[in-house]
C-alpha cells in the first residue's frame, strides 16, 4: 500500500511536482501515463527516496518514508524492486550478476543458487542463458531493458516499479513483458506502479490508470473508464492527437 499526499518537488527554479496525490492498494496495478517531462520518473524516485521531496507525505504500508535515516530506508527498500527507465545496469558486472545482485548482496544467497535463479529470470524476459555471461555494454537497448526487468523481479519483491518497461521493444516482445508484469501481480501478489506511453501496454497491465500533467494527477480511474473519462487531456493523450488542450499549453509563449 502506497499513499502520496500533496508531494511537491522543484529542481532549482523549475517546479516539477505540484502536489501529487496517489494511492495504490496492496496487490493493485497502477499505471501512470503522461507527457514527456511531466514528472513521472521523479514521482517514482520520490517514493524510493532517491529524490527528496520538498513537502508532502509518502507512506509505504502506513509508514512515513520521507526523512527516514539511511538504515531505516534500507529496510523499507528491501520490499521494492525497480526497473529504471535507463535500465541502470552495473557495467562492471556480467549480466547474470546484475540479475542476481539483490539475491547475493541483499539476501545473502549463495552464488551458485543465485545464478540459477538469475538464468531462470532471464529466460522469463526472453533472453537465453548465454546472455548471462555477456557484459551489459554488449547488449542492445531493448535487451538491457529486459535485463533491468529481470533484476527488478529477481528477489520477488512485494512492490515493483516499472519505468517504461516496454519502451524500445518490438510489439511481440512488448506483449511478453506485459504478460510477465501481469503475472507478477496475479501470481506473486505484487503491488506494481508502472509508467508507460504505450496505451496497449497500459490497458493490459493496469487495474487503475492515472494521468499526470504539469506535476499533478489530473485524472484517475479504472482502466475500463479511460475511454469514457470525459477529460479532454486524457482523450487527447490516449488518441495521440497533436491538437487539443495539451497542445494549447505548448503554444503559449
Amino acid at each position: 500500500m502506497i499513499e502520496m499526499h500533496e508531494v511537491t518537488k522543484a529542481f532549482g527554479p523549475k517546479q516539477v511536482l505540484n502536489g501529487i496525490n496517489l494511492t495504490i492498494k496492496k496487490g493493485q496495478s497502477l499505471v501512470v501515463i503522461g507527457g514527456s517531462g511531466s514528472g513521472k520518473s521523479v514521482t517514482l524516485k520520490c517514493i524510493l527516496g532517491i529524490v527528496h521531496p520538498d513537502s508532502g507525505s509518502i507512506k509505504v504500508d502506513g509508514q512515513e518514508v520521507t526523512g527516514l535515516s539511511a538504515r531505516e530506508r534500507k529496510k523499507v527498500l528491501s520490499k521494492f524492486g525497480m526497473l529504471f527507465q535507463s535500465a541502470a545496469l552495473f557495467d562492471s558486472l556480467p549480466v547474470w550478476q546484475n540479475v542476481a545482485f539483490g539475491l547475493i548482496q541483499g539476501k545473502g544467497m549463495k552464488k551458485a543458487e543465485a545464478k540459477e535463479i538469475a538464468i531462470e529470470k532471464l529466460r522469463r524476459v526472453g533472453l537465453t542463458p548465454d546472455v548471462g555471461d555477456l557484459s551489459p555494454a554488449e547488449l542492445s537497448g531493448g535487451m538491457q531493458k529486459r535485463v533491468g526487468l529481470a533484476r527488478a523481479i529477481a528477489t520477488e519483491p512485494e512492490i515493483i516499479f516499472f519505468d517504461e518497461p516496454t519502451t524500445g521493444l518490438d510489439p511481440i516482445m512488448a506483449d511478453v513483458i506485459n504478460d510477465l508484469i501481469v503475472e507478477c501481480v496475479t501470481d506473486l501478489g505484487a503491488t506494481t506502479l508502472s509508467i508507460t506511453h504505450d496505451m496497449a501496454s497500459a490497458r493490459k497491465i493496469a487495474d487503475r490508470i492515472t494521468m499526470i500533467y504539469e506535476g499533478r494527477m489530473i485524472w484517475e480511474g479504472d482502466k475500463k473508464e479511460i475511454d469514457v473519462s470525459g477529460n479532454d487531456y486524457v482523450d487527447q493523450f490516449i488518441h495521440g492527437r497533436a491538437h487539443g488542450p495539451i497542445q494549447m499549453q505548448l503554444l503559449k509563449p
Binding site: K74, S78, A88, F90, S92, G102, K107
Partner: protein
C-alpha cells in the same frame, strides 16, 4: 532585474563562501565514509580488487619516478657538495630527501594522477547513469559498496608503494653515485644505513597512508557527487586530481612540521 555587483571584494567574498561550503560538504562526506568503515558489511573482495588496481598497476610509474629522481638528486648534491669538498654527503642527503619527502610526495602525486581520476570517472559514470541509485534499490548501501573498499585499499596500498619508491629512489642515487661519480659502493651503503633513522621510515609510511586516504577520498567525493552527464564526469575527474594534488602537498607540509619541526 537583479543588479550584479562586480565589486572585487564581493567576488572574493563569494569565492570564500563557496569554498567554505565545499570544505563543509567534503568533511561531511569524509565523516560519513569513516563511520561506514565501522558499520558492516565490509566488502573485502572489492577492497582486494581495488588494492590490485591501485598497487600493482601503479608500480611501474612510481618505480620509474623514484629511480630518476633519486639519480638526479645524487648528481645535483654531488655537484653542490664538491664546492665544499663534501662529496661524501651524497648518500646521506639522498636517503633523507627520498625517504622523508620525495618518495611519499612524488609517489602520492603519481598515484593521485592515476587513481583519483580513475575513481572519479568510474563513480561519476555510475552516478549519472543511475547505477548508484540502482544500488540502493537493491538493498545495498553505496557508501559501503563503493566508497569504503576504495578508502581501505588506498590506505593499505600506498605505504607499500612508497616503501618500494624509497628503496628504488635510494638505488637510483646509488647507481649514479657508484657508476658515474666514483663513490665507493660499500661506503655508500654504510653511510645510507647510518643516516637513516626509524623516525624517517615511520613518518614516510604515515605520510603514505594519509596520502592514500586523500587520493581515494577525493576520487570518491568528486565522482560520487558528480552530475550533468559526460561533461559533469569530466569536470569531476579534473577536480579530483587537482584537489588531491593540493591536499597531498598541504598534508605533507603539516606532517613534516609536526614530526620534524622540533628537531635540530
Amino acid at each position: 532585474m537583479e543588479v550584479r555587483v562586480n565589486n572585487p571584494l564581493a567576488i572574493i567574498g563569494r569565492i570564500f563562501l563557496s569554498s567554505l561550503a565545499e570544505v563543509g560538504r567534503l568533511s561531511q562526506f569524509a565523516s560519513i565514509a569513516l563511520i561506514h568503515i565501522f558499520r558492516p558489511p565490509i566488502y573485502w573482495r572489492l577492497a582486494l580488487q581495488q588494492m590490485w588496481l591501485i598497487g600493482y598497476n601503479s608500480l611501474p610509474v612510481v618505480g620509474l619516478t623514484a629511480l630518476f629522481t633519486g639519480a638526479a638528486l645524487a648528481q645535483q648534491i654531488f655537484v653542490g657538495g664538491s664546492r665544499f669538498n663534501a662529496e661524501s654527503v651524497v648518500p646521506g642527503v639522498v636517503v633523507i630527501a627520498i625517504v622523508r619527502e620525495l618518495g611519499p610526495v612524488l609517489g602520492g602525486l603519481m598515484v593521485a594522477g592515476r587513481v583519483s581520476s580513475a575513481m572519479a570517472a568510474e563513480l561519476g559514470t555510475m552516478r549519472v547513469t543511475e547505477q548508484i541509485d540502482a544500488l540502493t534499490t537493491l538493498s545495498t548501501d553505496p557508501i559501503n559498496y563503493l566508497i569504503v573498499p576504495r578508502l581501505i585499499a588506498a590506505v593499505i596500498t600506498l605505504p607499500f608503494l612508497v616503501l618500494v619508491a624509497n628503496v628504488i629512489g635510494v638505488l637510483g642515487g646509488f647507481m649514479i653515485g657508484t657508476e658515474r661519480l666514483g663513490l665507493n659502493a660499500g661506503t655508500y651503503l654504510q653511510v645510507t644505513a647510518d643516516f637513516l633513522e626509524r623516525a624517517d621510515v615511520v613518518s614516510s609510511l604515515v605520510k603514505a597512508a594519509v596520502f592514500g586516504f586523500i587520493i581515494a577520498l577525493m576520487g570518491s567525493y568528486h565522482g560520487y557527487n558528480s552530475r550533468g552527464g559526460a561533461q559533469g564526469v569530466g569536470k569531476a575527474t579534473t577536480n579530483a586530481v587537482v584537489s588531491a594534488f593540493i591536499m597531498i602537498l598541504l598534508a605533507n607540509l603539516i606532517i613534516t612540521v609536526i614530526v620534524f619541526g622540533n628537531q635540530l
